[in-house]
Symmetry: C2
Subunit: 205 residues, 2 copies
């Protein structure tokens, strides 16, 4: 069952259980989706900060980017658990013959690549949402300032959590080219996320 269809109670129970999935990657994606959803709400309020047409156009543009990001992050919550399940399945492959061992090793590397690109996509979606946060913080209705603040905090925590998941899976990857490209991309996205979150928080103060 997709996480979007599970109840919040079921999600929390699943996160609490000793089962290998869902874990921090899925939790990060859902926290990011909550943050993006709150920004969608603030951007869609009838009243903007000073109620000008320019403000409303800027908020509308931000909202158009944020709505699909919410859907992406919800999908990534599922993809993260699926990718981790694939890694565990690969580790359980037979390793009797040399052929077995080679096939298992390839399967593990393929699965780890998947378990790295999913949190990288989560990190990217959070960074993309935070890139819209400044417009929302600056032009959004003052009465929703604490909602925007919570949104930014959740997206930042989600981005950091996704980044940690990228790095932990990269550790076991042997393809040095993939490793360095992914590491650089994660570092770039993480810096952008922190910078955009900081600017957006300042616009709220």
């Amino acid at each position: 069952m997709r996480f979007a269809e599970k109840t919040v109670g079921q999600l929390l129970e699943a996160l609490s259980s000793a089962e290998p999935t869902p874990g921090g990657g899925t939790a990060s994606a859902i926290a990011g989706a909550m943050g993006a959803s709150l920004l969608v709400m603030v951007a869609g309020l009838a009243k903007s900060r000073n109620n000008t047409d320019e403000e409303k156009a800027a908020l509308g543009d931000a909202r158009d980017v944020l709505v699909p990001l919410t859907a992406d992050l919800t999908r990534l919550a599922d993809a993260d658990s699926a990718a981790f399940t694939a890694v565990m399945a690969a580790y359980r492959l037979p390793k009797v013959s040399d052929e077995d061992k080679a096939a298992r090793s390839r399967a593990i590397q393929d699965a780890l690549r998947g378990a790295t690109t999913v949190p990288l996509d989560t990190l990217r979606a959070c960074a993309d949402a935070l890139a819209q946060a400044q417009a929302v913080a600056q032009h959004g209705n003052r009465s929703a300032a604490s909602d925007a603040g919570v949104a930014i905090g959740l997206l930042q925590a989600a981005a950091a959590g996704a980044d940690a998941n990228v790095r932990i899976n990269l550790e076991s990857i042997k393809d040095e080219g993939f490793k360095s490209t992914t590491e650089a991309e994660a570092a770039r996205l993480s810096s952008a996320a922190v910078a955009d979150a900081t600017t957006a928080m300042q616009a709220l103060a």
Copy 2:
């Protein structure tokens, strides 16, 4: 319907909608519940860091505190939306006669007090969970280190979000005694949350 019974998809839709609730207070409580749940998972894994009895006892103690905190935070997600609804209902009371005005003003102040104590309870629950995070980070299975890291980040974001909600509602409260007591308590809990999160993150590194 309680948030625990809503699907994640319904929660995200509700957060995205322009309806006044749920907002950042509810999102913070749910993010805190996700963080506490992940710590429950790490504390409950069959293998601890070095598999000693002392470690397992420490993790068991942490888990015993964390499980009810997860339930508290889930309940606070509902209480936050209810408290905000009560504030809006009070503002809509009639204000024609002087008696009306006095009754409305009292009702608003009462409701605002409720809308302040709920996020204060959320902040306290997150701080209490973070007080257990060091034991989990230090003794928990290394393979779940990124889950513990995500948990700490989510609890920290949830604590900061709850703190922001306490402060925004305090602004409109006239009872100076309540105001200064609550402000001091929120400041104390926020500092403890940040300090415990920092120590726990260091124990993971």
